[in-house]
């Protein structure tokens, strides 16, 4: 067991870092949610909406998201290969480089160094940093898997391998640019072609950062925390291959009704609808895994997190394809409906699953129990409530916006000016901030619980050696 101790500390370091960047991202999220209805909260030049929104998305996708993915993937890979990491020192270096890169990324975005590609805003020197981080991760994950002591590769490893490959291709291609100075570059792609490349990237960043690595966690920790085996191995095989096949075709559903050639849009819409099947393959697998013992939804707080998480994934992957349809897109595209959709995925599916995975991992590597199940339950209900308020208010106001933009008076003129439509968002935007505050309080309960668990274990470390569950 002592072989793992060094690597476990690396895993813990990633988890703590990821939570730290999560707090940064969430606080900025709250701030920009206020700016939407109170423009005096814009403080030029560093803290205007245009700059902060990018810090928000990057801190959460790369800081919280990648930090959790790196740390928890290392944990999963070690358990499933039955050996420590192949390059433990490299993994520790990975952790330090990760924090340095995210800190520099945040500073550069505050300063307005922005490629204007959604979820790929970082300028070229940082892009190189991200690629190095990814190569280190790939080398350690592949190396450890190749030198594994367990012959069969479990489902989670498939998803981790797919993540490593897909993100590398996506990130490198979309960030190809001509530097015009140390802090400024121009994409090598222009016009409709750059739009096509960007949304091929943008949608699959969702696919291979917010979906496949999170599914890796789900497939590993759900059986671990429930003591129930995955319902169907065959279903998980079908779901895996069809998911990673279909995802890459769908990016252009972000470009419906733009000047992008129709055939690419239509192909994307068709594959988007198909994508419901593999997504729900995992949802069904999750539900049936817990089916033999639904009482765990009451008795085991982790089951609750995972099952609600996969439920939101299921809702997300039906809502998303619906939005891709032209008839729906024409109404809700460019409105607040879309942030409502995104945040069900991130606040519901991703954050719930990641938090539950951390609840499992931290006591394991600290050789203790979770500090408080009650606090974990409070965390659960608060983030659930906050997220529902966020998403539902945004769906309502998104439909309202779309309808107002389309409304025509009997005399054939537009019924509402743009401002008349905008003003009607204000009560909903204020309500969204309330939802965000509730969610944030929930996350503070989570952080407190993790902190107290680690503190207790540190206090115990000098006295008794305690086993895990």
């Amino acid at each position: 067991m002592s072989d793992y101790q060094y690597d476990n500390q690396t895993v813990k370091g990633f988890i703590v870092s990821s939570i730290f960047w999560g707090v940064v991202g969430i606080v900025i999220g709250l701030w920009i949610s206020v700016q939407m209805w109170a423009p005096s909260w814009n403080i030029a030049p560093f803290f205007t909406f245009g700059r902060l929104r990018v810090v928000h998305t990057n801190a959460l996708a790369f800081g919280l998201g990648l930090g959790a993915i790196f740390g928890i993937s290392y944990y999963i890979v070690m358990r499933l290969t039955k050996r420590p990491l192949l390059f433990p020192k490299l993994a520790r270096f990975h952790l330090h480089l990760f924090n340095a890169a995210i800190a520099l990324a945040a500073v550069s975005l505050f300063a307005g160094m922005n490629q204007s590609l959604e979820y790929a805003e970082l300028e070229w020197p940082l892009d190189i940093g991200v690629v190095i981080l990814w190569v280190i991760f790939a080398v350690n994950v592949f190396g450890t898997i190749i030198k594994r002591k367990e012959e069969q590769m479990y489902i989670s490893l498939w998803y981790i391998i797919a993540t490593v490959i897909a993100v590398a291709v996506l990130y490198i291609v979309n960030n190809l640019s001509v530097p015009a100075g140390l802090f400024k570059s121009y994409s090598v792609f222009a016009g409709i072609n750059s739009a096509n490349v960007q949304w091929w990237y943008g949608h699959n960043a969702v696919g291979f950062v917010f979906t496949t690595p999170i599914l890796a966690m789900f497939y590993y920790f759900l059986p671990k925390s429930t003591g129930l085996p995955i319902f169907s191995h065959r279903l998980s095989i079908i779901a895996f291959w069809s998911l990673i096949f279909a995802y890459l075709w769908t990016g252009a559903h972000h470009l419906v009704y733009t000047p992008l050639p129709d055939w690419i849009q239509t192909l994307a819409i068709v594959f988007t609808i198909f994508l419901i099947a593999p997504s729900w393959g995992s949802v069904v697998n999750g539900f049936y895994t817990v089916a033999p013992d639904w009482t765990q939804m009451r008795t085991n707080y982790l089951t609750k997190f995972f099952i609600f998480g996969i439920t939101f994934y299921g809702l997300q992957t039906v809502q998303g394809p619906t939005q891709g349809l032209r008839v729906v897109s024409q109404l809700i595209h460019y409105t607040d409906w879309v942030p409502g959709h995104v945040h069900m995925g991130t606040m519901g599916w991703v954050t719930m699953t990641v938090a539950a995975s951390m609840y499992y991992v931290i006591p394991k590597i600290c050789k203790t129990e979770i500090y408080s199940v009650k606090v974990a339950n409070a965390h659960f209900y608060l983030v659930l409530l906050g997220q529902l308020i966020f998403s539902i208010t945004m769906w309502i106001t998104g439909i309202q916006q779309g309808a107002l933009w389309k409304a025509i008076s009997p005399d054939g003129t537009l019924k509402y000016t743009f401002m008349e439509g905008l003003v009607k968002n204000y009560p909903f935007w204020q309500m969204r901030t309330v939802g965000g505050v509730i969610f944030t309080v929930g996350m503070l309960f989570f952080i407190y619980n993790i902190y107290m668990t680690m503190r207790n274990s540190a206090a115990l470390a000098g006295t008794v050696e305690r086993g895990g569950r």
Partner: protein, 310 residues
């Protein structure tokens, strides 16, 4: 046999990579090789030095987080913003700035819609024009100068043509000048939609104002004036960004215009170089044909006439 792959990580990774690359190739790499992904309108010009500097600021400030730059080919969208976006308009956009959210309005046809001064004033205080707007203020951009060396390096990186004086002129400009220059060129490669007044409305338009002097119409026109006109023409028509409506100079020439000319200008807006009643326009007045009905425009003219009589 197929089950073997789950015991062979290298083979697994290769197969997974191939599976991922199929969709990538069909929807992204192969289209990139096709000519129809690289269209260019004949009259589309690369950005000038000052315009590119402004575009850099647009990128830096993240304007694309709230403003889109694509008009979809949908009826009300074309009414609200103008001609729908064409594939060939964006050939010099490295990268595209279409955005994905309209917290503020679409900007694909903002170029030349308003005069420069409108943009300066609006950037400094958006709430001067729209009291309930949530847009941040950008007057502080005036305090920042531009670096000719940087702009030159940026033009060179993109291979855009420029004359040396284009670069040396940059020295005297500030960031807000650049941003306005960029905003004024967006979407101008496509001609503005313009219609004869008689064809824009469902019914033919009268030559003389049928609501002239009607007190109810004057009252209605006052509200419309405050919402749409006062920002540029002043609270009492005295003129500011736009010309005075109460003096005797119309389209830069002494002498009033007839009711139906007023109607046409409000309905269609003005465009540089267009001629109305022998008077040449300088442009800068937006069209209100999609926002105001015939009755509303006549009411507005009744109100303007009442201002002129005071």
């Amino acid at each position: 046999m197929a089950g073997e792959i789950y015991r062979k990580p290298v083979m697994f990774a290769i197969v997974a990579a191939v599976v991922i690359l199929i969709g990538t190739a069909v929807t992204m790499f192969i289209p990139m090789m096709m000519a129809h992904m690289h269209p260019k309108l004949e009259n589309l010009k690369p950005f000038a030095a000052l315009e590119l500097a402004g575009r850099d600021i647009y990128q830096r400030e993240g304007c694309n987080n709230c403003h889109t730059q694509t008009v979809r080919p949908l009826k009300t969208e074309v009414m609200r913003y103008g001609e729908y976006s064409k594939a060939g308009e964006f050939a010099y956009d490295y990268p595209f700035l279409w955005g994905s959210k309209r917290t503020g309005p679409d900007l694909a046809r903002i170029g030349k819609k308003y005069p420069d001064l409108w943009h300066y004033r609006h950037f400094e205080d958006p709430r001067k024009f729209f009291p309930e707007s949530n847009m941040p203020e950008y007057g502080w951009l005036k305090e920042n100068g531009l670096s000719p060396q940087k702009v030159k390096a940026h033009m060179d990186a993109l291979g855009f043509p420029y004359a040396e004086e284009d670069i040396s002129q940059i020295e005297e400009k500030n960031e807000l000048d650049a941003l306005v220059a960029y905003v004024q060129v967006i979407g101008t490669a496509v001609a503005k939609k313009r219609a004869e007044p008689a064809l824009t409305k469902m019914e033919p338009v009268e030559v003389e104002n049928p609501l002239a002097g009607d007190p109810a119409a004057v009252q209605a026109g006052k509200g419309i004036y405050e919402d749409h006109c006062a920002g540029c023409h002043g609270d009492n028509g005295e003129g500011d960004i736009g010309p005075s409506l109460i003096d005797n100079i119309f389209l830069y020439v002494e002498g009033d215009l007839a009711d139906d000319d007023y109607f046409e200008i409000i309905n269609n807006g003005t465009e540089e170089g267009m001629v109305e009643e022998g008077r040449t326009m300088k442009g800068g007045m937006p069209a209100f044909m999609e926002d105001l009905s015939k009755r509303e425009i006549w009411s507005l003219i009744s109100f303007i006439r009442s201002l002129q009589q005071e």
